[in-house]
């Protein structure tokens, strides 16, 4: 079964979506990410969708699910690189990406995540649980 690779960087998980996802691939990604947040105690999830030409209600729901489930496990989700045409279309479609933050690019997304979880924790790899915002 094909899968989207998830990279671990300290307290963060990174995913780059490089192709238009088949539904199965998208639901697998959702399950894998949630599992990995749980297993690693990651505090942030960054999803790069700059290669996605369209986000329909199905994909939007997947992103929202990742965000809200990660949140339950105390991790923030940032979606980065959304193409302008996709952003315009989502607004007209009426789909809000609830539960996820958005940023222009990976760099800005990382900054945002660090801000959200607090700088002390972002730089300290061994110290998972006791930080507060």
């Amino acid at each position: 079964m094909e899968r989207i690779p998830i990279l671990r960087m300290g307290h963060f998980l990174l995913v780059t979506i490089q192709i238009d996802l088949y539904d199965r691939l998208a639901t697998n990604l959702e399950a894998d990410l949630v599992q990995m947040v749980n297993r690693t105690g990651a505090r942030g999830v960054l999803i790069d969708i700059s290669a996605l030409n369209i986000v329909d209600s199905f994909m939007g729901r997947i992103l929202g699910n990742i965000g809200s489930m990660s949140k339950i496990m105390d991790a923030e989700t940032v979606v980065v690189g959304m193409q302008p045409a996709v952003a315009i279309t989502l607004i007209e479609l009426g789909l809000e990406l609830k539960g996820v933050h958005t940023a222009l690019n990976v760099e800005k997304g990382m900054e945002l995540l660090k801000q959200k979880i607090g700088p002390a924790e972002a730089s300290d790899e061994d110290d998972d649980e006791d930080g507060t915002e």
Binding site: N53, I54, S57, L93
Partner: protein
């Protein structure tokens, strides 16, 4: 009212979830060929994706006719989704933002209507549903 002329067409059967991405790509090819800009392309393909998902989810599949059309000076893409599913009893209700019989968001139909220039839906309970949309190149 000016008549619409068909310049080019293709039809696709949609039976499985795996048919969605190739279908979207085919629609994109048609849109690119008439020179549709990226924003309108994205709106059209997103609308197409919503309708094809409805067809799969509620009617178990169907057929889509993809047409490049012209009307006067305008060119555009017309998509016609036809299924032999259960039909929609109350179209006005189905077109409402937030209404879903499938515990979903209920934005597919009303959202699609906002994304395109022409939207037409016909349905008969027990017989099926036909949805037709048009996106003009400069619409």
């Amino acid at each position: 009212m000016m008549t619409k002329m068909v310049l080019n067409k293709d039809s696709m059967r949609i039976e499985r979830e795996q048919d969605v991405v190739p279908f979207r790509n085919r629609v994109r090819e048609f849109a690119v060929k008439i020179g549709m800009g990226i924003v309108n392309q994205t709106k059209l393909i997103t609308a197409a994706s919503e309708l094809v998902r409805n067809m799969l989810k509620y009617a178990g599949g169907g057929a889509v006719l993809i047409e490049a059309i012209s009307q006067g000076r305008e060119t555009g893409i017309r998509l016609t989704f036809e299924d032999k599913g259960p039909g929609i009893g109350d179209i006005a209700l189905a077109m409402k933002d937030g209404y879903s019989s499938g515990k979903s968001l209920g934005i597919g139909l009303p959202g699609t209507k906002r994304l395109v220039n022409e939207f037409d839906i016909k349905s008969k309970t027990g017989e099926g549903t036909t949805v037709s949309i048009v996106k003009w190149k400069n619409g």
